[in-house]
Amino acid sequence: MSKSERPNQLFRNLNAKVASVPMVLTAVVIFVGGSAWTVLYSFTNSKLLPRLNFVGLDQYYRLWSTPRWLVSIENLLVYGVLSLVFSLVIGFILAALLDQKIRFEDTFRTIFLYPFALSFIVTGLVWQWLLNPEFGIQGVVRGLGWESFSFDPLYNSDIVIYGILIAALWQGTGLIMCLMLAGLRGIDEDIWKAARVDGIPTLKTYLFIIIPMMRPVFITALVIIAAGIVKVYDLVVAQTSGGPGIASEVPAKYVYDYMFFAQNLGQGFAASTMMLLSVVVVIVPWAYLEFGGKKRG
């Protein structure tokens, strides 16, 4: 067959290509272009304004010898692992509880989900208020007579990250629960019947049968949680501003502070490049496996 008979490949599916222009532009210009631009300028000593004055890896040497950056990384790891685990576990347990054909399911679901409608700024403010040792939970419990009660995560460097975690879980688990509930509802009733006939205890059915079947749901949930973790910023700003001291700093805040407060774009770009790098290392292989090259049956 001579290939010359084929219509021009460029114009095949032309409408689909035209419709994809915004996506392609966003992907190429904003995400790739913006990232490349950021990486390029991370090798410069740009201060307030971006300038192509290259200084090699200086910004990176400085970054990795800055205590605040190291604290930020550590916080992100602690926060990330815990929020991943707790979000999935709590989200799943809540969904499993709601899936027991209970009464008032709608009410409970709405209660668990509503914080998701609120912004991180709002969440941060409310929990800052609730965790305030003077008139928040600690103050109230002490007022009830338990004088030695101590619960002041936002003012204790060692546990401040857990104070943020509490607020983050409050805000985010509802959505995860929703996903999990949808996943549970998608499981064939016959599976449950089979497990019941086989006499497998409920817990074991969940652990060994249902959860493995819900792999796609867990992956979606994982993506949503993970995307939130890397970006955590507003919540910290609203709740603690990184304090006490630098105990609750996170990388995204380091980037923002050094780019804009410290007017040291180069340093901020270097930090964001490191974030970008870790995102790419973790996400790209997964994304490609999940979305790339998969042919439809």
């Binding site: 913006g34 054909k101 998701f116 700024i121 109230v140 996903l179 749901v217």
Partner: protein, 311 residues
């Protein structure tokens, strides 16, 4: 499920086999251990979720003297709506003392076009990716998904430059474009998954019937996509309404959205922090997304099931 314990039926006479054995519906107990555990857990967890809202509402209805004295959980002795009025119409930032009211309309003007534009783009993208795959589409999609993870801070500066170059910096349209860009990855993923989960034969049948790219989109796919559109609208309304970073970086004070005004009011401490006004302002700011949730919660769950779970 929760019917009261059914008494064993009285002996109705022997039919040969054991006459007093179980018969009829199995008795169930409202206060079975399982139910106590189930509802107990749910109620405790629900309290944890409701506590902040309760504190917000209660605090916003108290006067400042009462806040200073009392504990945050006690209901207001004397209900006052003054904090609400103040938060809405007279709280100050600098010299502007018109509260959140101005920000509310700005938020509406930002949210409505952003939601429409971002969903329009993402739904067509998702449709093209699900049904009209062309060479390289997957690569762009992967980039887009990875883009969902990029911290916004990385992008702020390049976008300032891009907006400046196309002359949209500081304008409402600029902000609408920014919201559409950052809403694109997650929305495209949702729509793509949803359209992929629809029977492909439907799409094939429509092609045999002669419908083209747009014909299939508008006449076949759109009418079937209500659940996923609801999800997208909820996600975008809440996301854009709640946005702070873009609102503050890409607009000017007279077009500041409500969240920025909220932050200004909360952080413009004049002497003592007016917690009641702050709480009222906080609730007012969260009201729109909350209402959207309460109204369409059921559809949201269904849509999530359709768009996020499969694929």
């Amino acid at each position: 499920m929760a019917d009261l314990a059914v008494p064993l039926p009285a002996d109705t006479g022997s039919i040969g086999l054991e006459a007093s054995g179980p018969r009829g519906p199995k008795p169930r107990h409202v206060f079975s251990r399982r139910n106590i555990f189930l509802y107990g857990t749910l109620i405790v967890v629900a309290l944890y979720y409701l506590l902040p809202l309760y504190v917000m509402v209660v605090t916003s209805l108290k006067g400042m003297p009462e806040i200073r004295l009392g504990n945050i959980f006690s209901p207001p002795l004397e209900i006052t709506f003054e904090p609400w009025v103040k938060a809405w119409s007279s709280a100050c930032t600098g010299l502007n003392c018109d509260g959140l009211s101005r920000g509310f309309w700005n938020s509406v003007r930002i949210t409505v076009p952003s939601v429409i534009l971002s969903i329009a783009i993402a739904s067509v993208n998702g449709y093209a990716l699900a049904n009209w795959r062309f060479k390289g589409a997957d690569t762009f999609f992967v980039i887009l998904i990875v883009g969902a993870f990029i911290p916004y801070q990385v992008m702020i500066y390049p976008i300032v430059i891009i907006l400046r170059e196309i002359g949209l910096y500081g304008s409402l349209s600029g902000l609408v474009i920014v919201h559409s860009i950052f809403g694109m990855p997650i929305l495209t993923l949702l729509f793509r998954n949803y359209f992929t989960s629809m029977p492909e034969e439907l799409f094939r049948a429509a092609r045999v019937d002669g419908a083209g790219f747009w014909g299939i989109y508008f006449r076949i796919m759109l009418p079937m996509s209500l659940p996923i559109f609801v999800v997208a609208i909820i996600l975008q309304v809440t996301g854009i309404w709640n946005d702070f970073l873009f609102g503050v970086v890409y607009t000017r004070p007279d077009t500041y959205p409500m969240t920025v005004q909220l932050n200004n009011i909360v952080n413009s401490v004049q002497g003592v922090k007016e917690y009641n006004v702050n709480m009222a302002a906080t609730i007012l700011t969260g009201l729109v997304p909350l209402v959207v949730y309460f109204v369409s919660g059921k559809l949201f769950v269904r849509g999530i099931a359709a768009g996020a779970v499969k694929g």
